[in-house]
């Protein structure tokens, strides 16, 4: 059926969540696989990946929070993170 209305937006979110889920589960399985091999260098790589991901996600959350509240008084905090 030809789509009508705003269902496409909801479907877009479903696709994004699915892709994100696949991406995270791939990382999860990669970590599990690497831990089994007990390779120190790989563990270090994973640690760095997790660190970078946490950094990106926390920054995004802070920016979103600022945009929602429109309170830029603590803007230096963003500067600190960047």
């Amino acid at each position: 059926m030809i789509p009508l209305g705003f269902s496409t937006i909801i479907h877009l979110f479903i696709i994004i969540f699915k892709k994100l889920y696949d991406f995270l589960s791939n990382i999860y399985f990669a970590i599990r696989k690497t831990i089994k091999k007990k390779s120190v260098s790989r563990l270090l790589t994973i640690f760095i990946i997790v660190l970078v991901l946490t950094f990106i996600i926390s920054n995004m959350l802070i920016i979103i929070a600022f945009l929602i509240n429109k309170d830029y008084s603590n803007f230096t905090l963003i500067k600190l993170f960047f």
């Binding site: 059926m1 009508l4 705003f6 496409t8 909801i10 479907h11």
Partner: protein, 339 residues
């Protein structure tokens, strides 16, 4: 695996030759091609006689006036394990049969839904192509993630013959037989796969008169099937999709016509936001299909959305509120497509 292609046709002299050529020009050749000629009055039969024995042409005893009757008639001659359904105005991509064979290797799959592209012709077909791109790459893809395919299109579908013959009865009581089959398979719990690489090219209405008639058939058929198969689905994904598709479209259609009466200010905001969303989708579709004209289709697309909303409401009142069921098949005008 034996694969058959079933093509019902009526007065398809402009496109049937290209359709059959596309069936022959496959990376994996079909084992049989069955064409059901529904007593065409033009040169369709003469054209079909030119093909060799690989094409089996069956003529119905009299004009049945509905595609599903012709399909039912042709199905008794199908001997393949899997059969592909397509239309006389449709051209299959060269690896269509190969894709279907690959998908059907998984025995749990009962049907495969392909990907439909529209031939380039004018602004109406461009808007329809835009609808297909958005609908199939976003809406249908998301629905497939929820394990629910609303429709296996008649132009690009494949079914496991044994399941189809045992489980599906041709009732001919709706305008969209493909939707009817898919509902039945979904409610029986069969698995349907959506393959975006099994591509076909079809001809869409190129004038407003044909467009309106086709939308009436699609939306009318949509409501007819919803009423016919109405019950609480077992699968949460299916329930979610059905509610989202129909309730959202209904609210949207009502809003379009009621909002200007309620508040002009809200109407302007609504159309502003909606236009931005459409523009973003046009941009996406333009990149996806590499068709620049999608970017300029916004005004025409918005206009056709108005028509769609009107027809959706018209068919809702006709089929659901007043229960005036109409099963009249309208055959849109055809043109020879060279692209």
């Amino acid at each position: 695996m034996k694969i058959s292609i079933l093509i019902p046709c009526y007065n398809e002299e402009l496109m049937i030759e290209r359709c059959v050529f596309s069936c022959h020009n496959q990376t994996r050749l079909p084992d049989e091609i069955i064409i059901v000629n529904d007593c065409s009055t033009d040169k369709t039969l003469d054209i079909l006689k030119r093909f060799d024995k690989n094409v089996r042409v069956i003529t119905t005893p009299n004009n049945m006036g509905n595609k599903s009757y012709a399909q039912e008639y042709g199905l008794q001659f199908v001997s393949g394990d899997v059969f592909i359904t397509t239309d006389g105005d449709t051209v299959l991509d060269k690896n269509f049969v190969e894709r279907i064979e690959k998908d059907m290797e998984d025995n749990s799959i009962a049907a495969v839904s392909g990907y439909v592209r529209s031939f380039k012709y004018n602004w109406i077909t461009a808007c329809r192509a835009l609808d297909y791109t958005i609908g199939q790459n976003i809406d249908k893809l998301a629905a497939s993630y929820l394990n629910f395919i609303l429709v296996v299109p008649g132009a690009a579908g494949a079914f496991r013959t044994s399941i189809f013959k045992n489980e599906i009865t041709f009732s001919h009581d709706t305008l969209t037989e493909d939707l009817d089959f898919t509902y039945t398979l979904n409610y029986l719990g069969y698995k349907i796969k959506y393959d975006r690489k099994a591509i076909c090219y079809t001809q869409d209405p190129f004038n407003l008169y044909s467009y309106i008639h086709q939308m009436r058939r699609w939306y009318g058929g949509g409501w007819q099937n919803l009423i016919k198969h109405f019950r609480i689905p077992d699968k949460p994904g299916m329930a979610f999709e059905l509610i989202l598709t129909y309730v959202d479209a209904l609210i949207f259609s009502f809003l379009i016509f009621l909002m200007p009466i309620i508040s002009l200010y809200i109407t302007i905001w609504f159309w502003g936001i909606y236009s931005l969303i459409i523009l973003a989708l046009c941009f996406y579709a333009s990149l996806k299909e590499r068709r620049l004209e999608f970017l300029f289709a916004l005004p025409c697309y918005a206009f056709l959305k108005f028509i769609n909303a009107w027809i959706f409401l018209e068919q809702f009142f006709k089929e659901v509120v007043f229960k005036k069921r109409e099963i009249v098949w309208y055959k849109p005008e055809r043109a020879k497509m060279n692209n």
